[in-house]
Amino acid sequence: MPLAYSLPSDLSPATVTNTSSLLRIIALALISGAAIASRLFAVVNFESIIHEFDPWFNYRATKVLAEKGFYAFWNWFDHTAWYPLGRVVGGTIYPGLMATSGVIYNVLHALNLPVDIRNICVLLAPGFSALTAWSTYMFTKELKDESAGLLAAAFIGIAPGYISRSVAGSYDNEAIAIFLLMFTFYSWIKALKTGSAFFGTLTALFYFYMVAAWGGYAFITNMIPLHALTLILMGRFSSRLYVAYSSWYAIGTLASMQVPFVGFQPVRTSEHMAALGVFGLLQIVAFAELVRAHVSSRQFQSILFGSVIVIGVLGVLAFAGLTYKGWIAPWTGRFYSLWDTGYAKKYIPIIASVSEHQPTAWPSFFMDLQFLIFLFPAGVILCFRELRDEHVFVIIYAVVASYFAGVMVRLMLTLTPVVCVAAAVAFSSLLDTYIDPVEPEVSEVAVPVTGGDSSAASPATVDGAVSSKKAKKAAAAVADASSTGIASGIVAAIGGQSKSPKARGIFGLDTRFLIVVNALGMLLFFVLHCTYVTSSAYSSPSVVLASQNPDGSQHIIDDFREAYYWLRQNTPQDAVVMSWWDYGYQIAGMADRPTLVDNNTWNNTHIATVGKAMSSPEEVAYPILRKHDVDYVLIIFGGLIGYSGDDINKFLWMVRIAQGVWPDEIQEPNYFTPKGEYRIDDAASPTMKNSLMYKMSYYRFAELFGGSQAVDRVRGQQVPKTGPTLDYLDEAFTSENWIVRIYQVKKEDLLGRDLKTANAFANGKKRKKSKPLARRKALA
């Protein structure tokens, strides 16, 4: 066989195997290192701090677990959250993340390595991202081979779509959930391929871990049954499928009910009915196969076939009927809004108001995935060519994940693994073809050879001396011809049959060189893009803001922590703080004070009460504040430095949510000008000007400008010169850039007057003379 370039021929197969294993291990270690390192930008630029909002709650819960032990954590009733309702934390969280950190903490302490719990929490996500890379490698290895696996591991190690939720400091459920997702899928594929109940049990155990870790476990709950159903419909039912699915479902569902938050949902809600339905269908099909093998008559077989279909349809109708009757709960709002995208805005404004739940814009696909996004369809098509059971799975996963990623920005995260896998398959196939040194015979059958090894993502030099297992593989390749039998490049591969007697291939080194160098260049650009996006867009702690001074040096804006620590050090331990629910977890975590509402958003009426207090005049809001024992009110105001994520911009959502519960008292149109504009200057509507939020935001704001016109930099409007006055609240603290403002609620007046007249008296105003009260007229 002519070769484009010569391969060393004096290597024994054992050496080849060992060297390739060593190279793979080194490659995986380097990929893990790259994955961990690229997530550490925030720690290097700022400090080791928990980011955003949700992770602060997870961090508090982990601290309780680490300090007080598992029993206290399991039964933890947080009486400082959702004051005065409290929150039963033990039954309303996914404990997987905290349990993982707790175990790591205890293990390290048992080894006498006193690592602080905060550092464990901050660095957990990068650590698990290395494990995600490894499990993606294992998964892709089942699809194609080790080289595709390494590519996939590299891609997912640095792809921004995954990094965005797993930087150091982002201590959220997704940090471990994606690893569990990939590993569960890997063991499912393994179980399907081998038909071993061991892998089925392993899938069930990791599925249980995933259920304990993330609410998105419903994705696995529906993906695996969908895959099984597709295989059955394709006529690929086999005992291996039966063994794998049954052992997974039986053990996995029972295990998932152990998590208190999930409880009985797996047998009661629509999201889990698909798995149950497919389970039942599988039993019926298996039984039908068993009976069919005993009986040989065709007639009976067709009757059997028909009865299976009838039972299947009856089962679906039964599910629909039970759902209609209410025994099976319908799809919850969070999942239903994926199907009906307009549903949340009308009925559940809290879900609609979260910025992560908005539909995905096209540029964010490119930002998160760069060139993977156009390799992805190529990889899926290659899966169609192979179409083993595992390829069917990847195809289904790709289609479903693409739809979801288009509906909600947050679900880009579930798309990223399958994009990396499919793109790796495509890219690896390309490299295989062009690195393969075999040139086509002019008159002989070209034996497709699988080559390619260690084409790692690190921009290494062109590794021409690939040692391949070609000696062994050539014999097995005939049987395995479908794997990489592309004999003449990607374009021809789509339609070409590998066993054509015509000679097809690539001649010469120049083509090979060009393509391989181009491919490596694209990989290099990918790395540069990922690093750039990670460092600029996804590594901000969002607790600390950074901007640039005129001379280019970094200027840190630390108002949030300044205010939270003021609260922590200057208020009594049990002082209750009211703020909008975005900041609840941060206040609880950093200021350590009871809050009224927080990011858990489980009680809409309580949030609406806070919204009503914020949007009502002082006299109406004061009784609400006193009833809830509120001592301090905290708002975010970005008008001075131009921080656009402040409460005045969120104010309409507060009004809408309050209006949902009190439509008679709060109407959204009242807060707009008669022309329908949202203004905060002189033209603002009276309801807007009297609302507590407006008064608290602009109290004494005009004084800053010392006589000249005060301008709100976010809204771009001019604030009236005479600012609002506050009678029922006292200003307690304003941070350096006026981002956080804290007000203290006044207690009842000493003499029993209402606070407005009490304030007027304190300022020296005299009351009007009044007359004695009327009494009843005496009857004559």
Binding site: G195, F198, S247, I251, A255, M257, Q258, E289
Partner: protein, 123 residues
């Protein structure tokens, strides 16, 4: 799940009832091992049906205990059925990687894990 062999044609033109002949064919053609598994399967099915009827007819309180008991029957049933499929010599071609010993080990491991979860959920 294909059975061991096609039943010998005792059913054709026999005066015995088809069920009885089916039973005879089954009894003779399956090995002891498979029959043990089948007996186990039948017992589990009965136990599951009894529990389900109790739940539906009498009371479904406490629901978690019902789920645990019922799931233990169902789970054990599918594990045993999987074992039967894997051990059946006619399926050797499908289960290349799983020898009968490995199948039994898998079965035992799966059952132990299942029982662990059952007892955790029961009380």
């Amino acid at each position: 799940m294909p059975a061991a062999k096609i039943a010998p044609s005792k059913t054709a033109g026999s005066s015995q009832s088809p069920l009885l002949s089916l039973w005879k064919a089954y009894y003779e053609s399956t090995s002891t091992r498979l029959k043990t598994i089948d007996a186990f399967l039948v017992f589990l099915m009965l136990s599951g049906i009894i529990q389900f009827l109790y739940c539906v007819l009498i009371t479904n309180f406490p629901f978690n205990a019902f789920l645990a008991g019922f799931a233990s029957c169902v789970g054990q049933f599918v594990l045993a059925a999987s074992l039967r499929a894997q051990v059946n010599p006619a399926n050797r071609s499908e289960f290349k990687d799983v020898s009968p010993e490995r199948a039994f080990a898998d079965f035992a491991l799966g059952s132990i894990v299942l029982h662990f979860f059952v007892y955790n959920f029961l009380g």
